[in-house]
Assembly symmetry: C2
Homo-oligomer: 135 residues x 2
DNA sequence: CTAAATTTACTCGTATACAAATTATTTTCC
DNA sequence: GGAAAATAATTTGTATACGAGTAAATTTAG
């Protein structure tokens, strides 16, 4: 079995390389790659339910619980009960969380470009389009 | 931060979708997606050192130790000492392992095709080429 | 209206992924 | 030859990822 011929393996390795690259970019902020993504996302759409956050980020609810635990421990997010529905919780950024999220947003575009610098603009657009269709 | 604009996120989600698809294909064999990959790889290049296996599959040595523990427990692989170098170990498939690996190899091409069926042959080749450059 | 079904977040257990430290062995270099 | 550097595999600790099950709250059916 040639590893490169297996699309699952190829996607995994490519993703791991990218995530490691991104993790290194945000490591100075003291957050992991995934935590940075969640914070960056919340900086656009704050005060939403955990379920909505999970939908938008396509992070499983069991996984999200742990991520929110750690972000909360670091003082970046908080959980509040939802007056409209006792089952769900509202997630929002703290002041400190907003600050880190801002830093993350200034990093992400640059990191994207740097990671994709081997590709031309056409190739990048092609790649994004193909990945979106497989997602 | 738009999730789809972040290449790291897009790659991760695409990879997760692919891995889940592949995991489902091999679940009847009682192995995980990664375990199936390792077995499939060993069916081509058996009796190599753990370090070589890690290089070929780009699986970290710490991760590989655990994977080999589980494969060994299932009776699919075995570790033997390397007479040429006391530090390293030789990995090989058992008879049972060869049988499962054979089944895996019959599954993988089909799974690849099925996962990529939304893409034309040209698009598939393009995707593989782009991913290899980012890997 | 109330019992059943559904939904939400969480817990639990298992499997990667990976950085850092450890142990045993081998290689290098003087 | 022997100390120092390098290498191989493992261990340890933390962070996802995810299936399965749970408790509490809400919605749906009859």
């Amino acid at each position: 079995m040639n590893i490169n011929d297996c699309i699952f393996f190829l996607l995994t390795k490519c993703s791991q390389t990218g995530v490691k690259f991104w993790a290194q970019k945000v490591s100075s902020l003291g957050v992991t790659a995934v935590q940075a993504m969640v914070l960056g996302f919340l900086s656009e759409e704050d005060m939403i339910t955990s379920r909505q956050l999970g939908e938008r980020t396509t992070i499983d609810s069991a996984t999200l619980t742990g991520i929110l635990d750690r972000l909360e421990n670091m003082g970046y997010t908080k959980r509040q009960s939802n007056p409209d529905d006792g089952r769900s919780i509202m997630i929002s950024l703290t002041a400190a969380g907003k600050k880190v999220a801002f830093d993350i947003r200034t990093l992400v575009d640059n990191a994207n470009q740097e990671f994709l610098q081997k590709l031309s603009k056409e190739e990048e657009a092609m790649l994004r389009g193909l990945l979106r269709r497989l997602k």
